[in-house]
Every structure is written in C-alpha cells, then in structure tokens.
C-alpha cells in the first residue's frame, strides 16, 4: 500500500490554542478561499487545536440560554462541512501525540492522526505551509 502523503498546494498548520484569538476563524476562511479557487489543502492541528475535531463535541454547541432553540454549529461540525464540500481536495490531519495528551480522541470521521515525528513529510508534501500560532 502506498503510504505517501498526497501532494497539496497549501498546508495550514493550526498550532496555537483556539479561543484565545481569531486564528481558527482565519484558518477556516483561508481554507475556504483556497478551496474555492480549486486548490488542494492540508490542515494539521496540534495542541489544543486537536480538540476542534473531537467527536465529543457533537454537531452543535451547548444551548444558548437566551436563545434556546437556535442551533450553533460546533467546531467538529464545521470541519465536517469543509470535508463534505471538498472531499477530494481537503485532507485534515491531527497530531497523534497532542490528540492523546489533550484528550481529543476520538476524532470525527475522516480526521487522520499522524505522529509528530512525521511532520516534516507534511511540509515536504506541499508548495506552501503556514504555521498559525504556537503550541
């Protein structure tokens, strides 16, 4: 079996923690813009960003007590939306070590766990890589 990574135009490595800045918002916006242009994209998450695709999140955020019946999508639901819309051009990887360390397992379907000692393979597989934040 060929274990080589697929090539991609851009890797967005989300290294920093969500919730302390608008980094994840920017990552989703940039991924969407790249994919709408027909590019191929890899997303890698490290640290607490591995929790973005934790299956435990479900499809919706906890209820808003002042807008009880409104549905607010979870991070996992938005990742699934991206993967559904661009199944052949988006690959989403999550660091296996961070996933275990931060309790993010199990992930939703289609999230591929990779060991951190393989990370340079991900850098080699793309034309351009951006590191968003720091672990």
């Amino acid at each position: 079996m060929d274990r080589r990574l697929p090539r991609a135009d851009v890797l967005l490595a989300i290294m920093g923690p969500p919730h302390i800045s608008d980094m994840v918002t920017s990552a989703v916006r940039l991924a969407q813009a790249l994919l709408e242009r027909g590019a191929t994209v890899h997303i890698w998450t490290c640290g607490h960003a591995t929790g973005l695709t934790s299956a435990a999140l479900g499809d919706s955020k906890p209820r808003n007590v002042v807008n009880w019946s409104y549905d607010y999508p979870s991070g996992a639901a938005l990742a699934a939306e991206l993967l559904d819309a661009f199944p052949d051009r988006l690959s989403w990887y999550s660091c296996r070590f961070c996933t275990e360390e931060r309790g993010s397992a199990p992930h939703i379907a289609r999230i591929k766990q990779r060991p951190p000692f393989k990370f340079t393979e991900h850098l080699d597989a793309v034309d351009s890589a951006l590191f968003l934040g720091v672990c």
């Binding site: 851009v10 800045s21 940039l30 813009a33 790249l34 242009r37 968003l132």
Partner: protein, 108 residues
C-alpha cells in the same frame, strides 16, 4: 529576488513581536524582495490608529500593506481611518497571492 506574503495577526496589543515582524517585512523589502504584509484579526488594528510608524516605514520602502476587510468590519474600525497607502482586501485575494508560484508565506 523572492516574493513574500507576510501575515500579521496579533497587532500592537499582542506584544512587541508585531512591530518586530513588520520590521522583518521592511528589511526584506530593502533587501530587494517583493513584500506584501497582510494584516488580519487584531493585527488590523495597527492600520487604524494613525500612529504606527513601522507600517509607514514599510510603505515608504515600497512594500504593500493589505488589511483584512472582514476583521475590520468585525472590529468596527472606521474605513476612513485606514492608513494612507494601505488597502482593504478580502480572503480570496490573499488565497490567490499564496497560490502564485514562488510566493513565500509566513504567518505571525
């Protein structure tokens, strides 16, 4: 000569690193490289205070300053306070630049 797309996401309230990153952009430009600095998230704030010398230096050196329109709207920054010479852009334009062959992207 290389071409850089440098992305500043933190801005003055994120600590001194933002100015250092803009200085990196100016240094690269003065070394002869093409440089576009894209301000996004709180990084956009530097383009609206009227007090950011580091951005002025980059513009004077011939660099470009792009400012994310989405972040600007979300932060209620007044477009008429935008630093002269800087330009509001959307994420599609940023994606297009990043996909140009040879463009080196760096996120701060």
């Amino acid at each position: 000569m290389d071409e850089y797309l440098l992305i500043e996401s933190q801005g003055p309230w994120g600590g001194p690193g933002a100015d250092r990153f803009v200085a990196d952009a100016t240094r690269l430009r003065r070394a002869g490289h093409r440089v576009a600095l894209f301000l996004v998230e709180n990084g956009t704030s530097a383009a609206f205070t009227g007090a950011d010398e580091a951005l002025r230096e980059l513009l004077e050196a011939g660099g470009q300053v792009w400012v994310d329109a989405f972040s600007t709207t979300h932060r209620a920054f007044a477009p008429d306070r935008l630093l002269p010479g800087a330009r509001l852009v959307d994420m599609d334009e940023v994606a297009g630049k990043l996909l140009e062959p040879g463009v080196r992207g760096v996120w701060h």
